[in-house]
Symmetry: none
Subunit: 264 residues, 2 copies
């Protein structure tokens, strides 16, 4: 795989798994990496020989095929300028700075910005990284989990870390095709004058339906104005609602007319 | 399980899985919920009968045992004031506001702050939520994934969403004894089941007023569900609107009856 002269930030953020036991978890890690646009995985001393065949690597078989197998952690992180260990603090007294995941992005972004190479290191399923492993890490990141159940599944922990860094430390993805235009923003609200038009119509319908005693009409008008403004109707909602109330009013008036003029 | 008089924010943030196929994924979701301090899971129409026994629910067997099984999505979200659908935009043109996950926390925090009940809805593994499912959602949240591989594993997608909300929308684990402030919060939105009640009534009024040709009725029902969710009606707005439509309907029917039976 020929690398460009200056690899982009995504190509300088790697994942290293130390002694993973379950190939399904390795596949899940590969899938999460593909989801968040990363490509470089290193597996240190995997337990199962056929880990590259994990069926859980949905959409990421190539990533798994290209993964590097290393014998030791120092070998796997040799080229890194910032090595970030992961784990909980439950059984361990950390010997390096500890950062909570929501605070990690600025550190990673600045390291990538100045051309560094960042590696996220995940330990084996049961016990996590050892004290020896952690001695190769510059910092330790913890995912803020509930004290009653701190231990996460490996594939889920990796997904959470990569989501956080992809969203807040990496530059936004290339504007391929037209992803942005697919996003439908909350549409602008209908202008005030149109709300007043609707308010008038609803009030007429209330009167025609005998809903609003005349003594209450002033108070209802006030409340109706407030209510319509709380609703943040967009222009299309408003057109539809106007249409419905026009129709209702027409029907109510027609029936009132036919009742007062039974000869019609 | 006796609930306290005012359940805390964690107890008003629920997860709903629609038609999940693989019990291992349901277990993984339960595990992630326990990791992030949530307890309330509802499973709609699960495919496998023995889903409660999923071994992947490490540390969360109790949560799985307490999970609610519902027949339909509207039933599962009946009490919710903010229903958030999840999914990618790959195959779908969204009909409601779309929010990217990194921007979701403020919306959820404010709904929880004013006493609302928030539900995150996840679709089945293969196809995600249907257009019909999404019509019960106020907003659609997307996880910013790579355009080449947008489809996430269900358990990983849930973990990512819950991480984001636990870190940025829920209060930190330590609950402080004193209430936040004397400020009176904006009232919570009306629950989903009441919106459906109103939708039914509006539809009857449309029919009685001859507004909706029968050929359009299915489409109108769908659009009406979306419209009512955009409005963020509060419970008082809703009572008032229900009252008005009941009155309109009664009038329309009375006049229809008197026209069809001119001897009355």
């Amino acid at each position: 795989m020929p690398l460009p002269a200056q690899p982009g930030p995504q190509d300088r953020l790697d994942v290293v798994l130390v002694a993973p036991r379950n190939p399904l978890n390795i596949g899940a890690v590969a899938r999460a990496m593909a989801n968040f646009g990363l490509a470089r995985l290193t597996v240190v001393a995997p337990w199962a020989p056929h880990w590259r065949e994990a069926r859980s690597a949905v959409g990421a078989p190539r990533l798994l095929a290209d993964a590097v197998e290393a014998a030791t952690l120092p070998e796997a992180v040799a080229a890194a300028t910032l090595v970030i260990g992961t784990g909980s603090l439950t059984y361990r007294k950390p010997e390096q700075p500890v950062v909570s995941l929501p605070d990690l992005a600025p550190l990673v972004a600045s390291e990538l910005h100045r051309g560094g190479r960042v590696v996220l290191v995940f330990g084996p399923e049961k016990h996590g990284l050892t004290r020896e492993d952690l001695s190769y890490c510059h910092i330790l990141v913890t995912i803020p989990t509930d004290a009653c159940q701190p231990s996460m599944n490996l594939g889920q922990a990796v997904a959470v870390c990569l989501y956080e860094l992809a969203a807040r430390a990496l530059p936004p993805p290339e504007p391929s095709a037209e992803p942005q235009s697919e996003l439908r923003p909350v549409p602008a609200a209908a202008p005030s004058q149109d709300l007043d038009l609707l308010a008038g119509l609803v009030e007429e319908a209330m009167t025609a339906a005998g809903y609003s005693p005349s003594a209450m009409r002033q108070a209802n008008r006030h409340d109706l104005r407030l209510l319509l403004r709380r609703l943040s109707l967009n222009p299309a909602d408003l057109r539809r609602t106007l249409g419905l109330f026009r129709r209702i009013l027409w029907r109510l008036r027609r029936s009132a007319a036919s009742q007062s003029n039974p000869d019609d």
